[in-house]
């Protein structure tokens, strides 16, 4: 005890204990009596796309690689190929995920809409209604929808709070997504603090300025699968059987819920994994609820196959996609498209300060403060942010195409699980991918899926 090394030894042991990294959080709770609310998504290390690698081919008993500089790889994807008159014909499997108007600014939402027009893909309103503009004659311009045209698409969300959901909202859309959950806070519904409900947001959501917006944890008017079937049928009737209708779920009982959703006449299912982000969520929900994206995609694919709708119902994967490598791996696991949200915000200038829930976003993205909103696009405005988002999506699309070529595919739709190897036993077991070196599944069950 008297040795001068003693203090060093015990201090070092403390610093490597599991408590060291969270001692400030413990003190925060102790001093305030509050839990932590923050933006963005899961922080930590779970099995993720870095645990998988793509396998190139050389034409020696394997397919030949495609010459990526000379030969074209088809990146097009169709969502809603079953029964609707106007499916989404995307030029890329890269989409923009749901981020609500309210959590994010008008400028950011419009930049996303303009960017998908440039790229030829789809964006999503999120649960806060659509960016609109009231005209002097009393009519409403559905700006977010308008800005995606002629090449892009707008998916509108039909979530448990129904903020801004009207007949016109549904008609001024290209697809409808019934939101059941999201990756960052599955089972928690949605939240927008009254501080962010400024005049424009209040108008869009159809409520008085400053009203806290709570989207309940469940739909108040859809309490069973039978109800869901009825609602989907009614929505199809309202929009003239033209648009794809799908469901979005968080990373819970993915197999069971995807299978159930397929019994309700859907065109797509969006599954948001644990790395999915948010504007504001209790930290314990972000950290403690849900499964990694890597585990969600194979479970969803199995459910679609078991339900016999693998070809008709598109699978959109969300939750933690950073680049074309992640996206290509998700496609190889079975996703038809991937939707990015946090990465889109970063592309638009987000500095990851984590202040999303406070409304003090210094990049003009997660704020309703008129002065801060002027900072969108680095202070250069919506068109600059549009350019950044479109550039990013184009680059990611090129990455996916080049990786497909190296795997011997002429279309991104040809990606499959044989293109992947896991470099950890955990990832191999969770994702049902062959283990590198072993060249076989670590769990025999995966052979049958």
């Amino acid at each position: 005890m008297s040795s001068p090394l003693y203090n060093k030894i015990v201090a070092r042991k403390c610093q490597t204990s599991i408590y060291w990294a969270v001692k400030d959080e413990i003190r925060y709770r102790a001093e305030t009596g509050k839990y932590i609310i923050r933006g963005f998504g899961y922080s930590g290390k779970l099995p993720d796309f870095d645990d998988l690698l793509l396998i190139p081919v050389h034409g020696l008993g394997t397919p030949s690689p495609i010459d990526q500089y000379r030969e074209r790889v088809d990146t097009s994807v169709v969502i809603g190929k079953g029964m609707v008159k106007r499916p989404l014909r995307l030029s890329t499997p890269i989409m923009i995920g749901a981020m609500s108007y309210g959590a994010t600014s008008r400028e950011f939402k419009l930049a996303c809409a303009k960017a998908v027009n440039i790229v030829g893909t789809a964006t999503n309103t999120g649960e806060g209604g659509q960016v609109v503009e009231k005209q002097s004659d009393g009519s409403i311009r559905w700006l977010e929808f308008e800005y995606t045209k002629p090449n892009g698409y707008l998916i509108v969300q039909f979530a448990s709070g129904r903020w801004g959901v009207s007949l016109e909202y549904l008609l001024n859309s290209d697809a409808i997504e019934i939101k059941y959950g999201q990756g960052a806070k599955p089972g928690f519904g949605g939240h927008l603090l009254g501080e962010k409900v400024v005049d424009e947001i209040a108008y869009t959501r159809g409520i008085p300025k400053g009203t806290d917006c709570l989207s309940p944890a469940r739909h108040l008017d859809i309490r069973s699968l039978d109800d869901l079937r009825k609602v989907i049928k009614i929505l199809r009737d309202i929009v003239g059987y033209e648009k794809p209708i799908g469901i979005k779920i968080g990373p819970g009982n993915v197999y069971k819920e995807v299978y159930a959703a397929t019994q309700c006449d859907i065109d797509f299912i969006a599954v948001d994994g644990k790395y999915g982000g948010t504007g504001a969520s209790p930290q314990h929900a972000i950290q403690g609820l849900g499964l990694p994206t890597l585990a969600c995609i194979p479970a969803a694919v199995r459910a679609l196959k078991d339900a016999g709708v693998r070809e008709e119902v598109a699978l959109i994967a969300l939750g933690g996609f950073r680049d074309g490598v992640d996206a290509a791996k998700a496609l190889a696991l079975g996703a038809d498209a991937v939707a990015l949200a946090s990465a889109i915000m970063i592309a638009a200038g987000c500095m990851m300060c984590g202040q999303c829930s406070t409304g003090k976003c210094p990049a003009g993205i997660c704020t309703q403060d008129p002065e801060l909103r002027k900072r969108i696009g680095g202070g250069k405005g919506i068109d600059e942010a549009t350019k950044w988002i479109a550039n990013y999506m184009k680059a990611v699309t090129k990455e996916v195409a080049q990786l497909a070529a190296a795997c011997g595919h002429r279309s991104v739709r040809e990606f499959n699980k044989e293109d992947l190897r896991a470099i950890t036993v955990e990832a191999a077991a969770i994702a049902g991918v062959k283990l590198a070196g072993l060249e076989d599944y670590v769990l025999p069950q995966w052979r049958w899926f």
């Binding site: 839990y35 009207s166 009254g194 008085p208 309940p216 049928k233 009614i234």
Partner: protein
């Protein structure tokens, strides 16, 4: 006004709603019979006068009216149901008038932004949950958890209510003429102001409902921020 009679026997949602929309577009008044099996009857209707003879199914008059009609004070469709209605009547409505002569099931006027829903019988649980601006009048009794998460609008119940009336209300008002089993969280009872009495009398008499205004009490939120600002 010319009228069209639709016998919905053997017809599905698409056929009935298409016939109604076409007729209304031509300025015709519509009478529908035998439509109890059609869930979503008249969903998305934006104008016209429709009467339904007999009972109707779930989600009748869902998403009726337009946002512009509410904002500009224009009238939406007028729907009269001479019978009972199933669950989720006038779900998410924005404008118009729905009158039900009988009883209604669970969740009437849920999420409704605007318009008026009048129920001459009784209503089940969950009436007016997350109501955002519509006016809902019930001549009879209502079930449990009426007005949950309301952010606007008015609910008037002439009869009795069940458990947790006005649970977690944020904005809006509930008038009750009878008794209730329990108050929800974040709500308090208040006496009616002379202005409230005048408005109540006007609304009830408009729909031929006789009631002793002196017996009514008003239920309002205790605070407009029951959830946030105290994580």
């Amino acid at each position: 006004m010319p009228s069209l009679e639709i016998d919905a026997t053997g017809l599905g949602l698409v056929e009935v709603n298409q016939k109604v929309r076409k007729a209304v577009k031509k300025g015709m008044r519509v009478i529908i019979k035998n439509a109890k099996h059609v869930d979503g009857l008249l969903a998305g209707l934006i104008k016209g006068e429709v009467e339904v003879e007999g009972d109707v199914g779930d989600y009748t008059a869902m998403l009726i009216g337009m946002r512009e009609q509410k904002e500009e004070g224009l009238s939406g469709p007028r729907i009269v149901i001479h019978g009972n209605a199933g669950n989720y009547l006038a779900d998410g409505a924005w404008a118009g008038e729905v009158v039900v002569e009988g009883d209604v099931g669970y969740g009437a006027a849920i999420y409704a932004y605007g318009g008026t829903v009048v129920i001459h019988g009784s209503a089940g649980d969950a009436l007016g949950q997350l109501l955002k601006g519509a006016t809902v009048i019930v001549r009879g009794d209502v079930g449990d958890v009426v007005g949950l998460y309301m952010v606007g609008g008015t609910i008037i119940v002439v009869g009795d209510a069940g458990e947790k009336i006005g649970d977690w209300m944020i904005r809006g008002e509930i008038f009750i003429g009878g008794s209730y089993k329990s108050l929800g969280s974040n709500v308090k009872e208040r006496a009616l102001s002379p202005e409230d009495k005048k408005r109540l009398k006007m609304l009830l008499s408009k729909y031929g409902i006789e009631a002793d205004i002196g017996k009514f009490r008003k239920i309002v939120p205790m605070t407009s921020r029951p959830f946030y600002g105290k994580s």
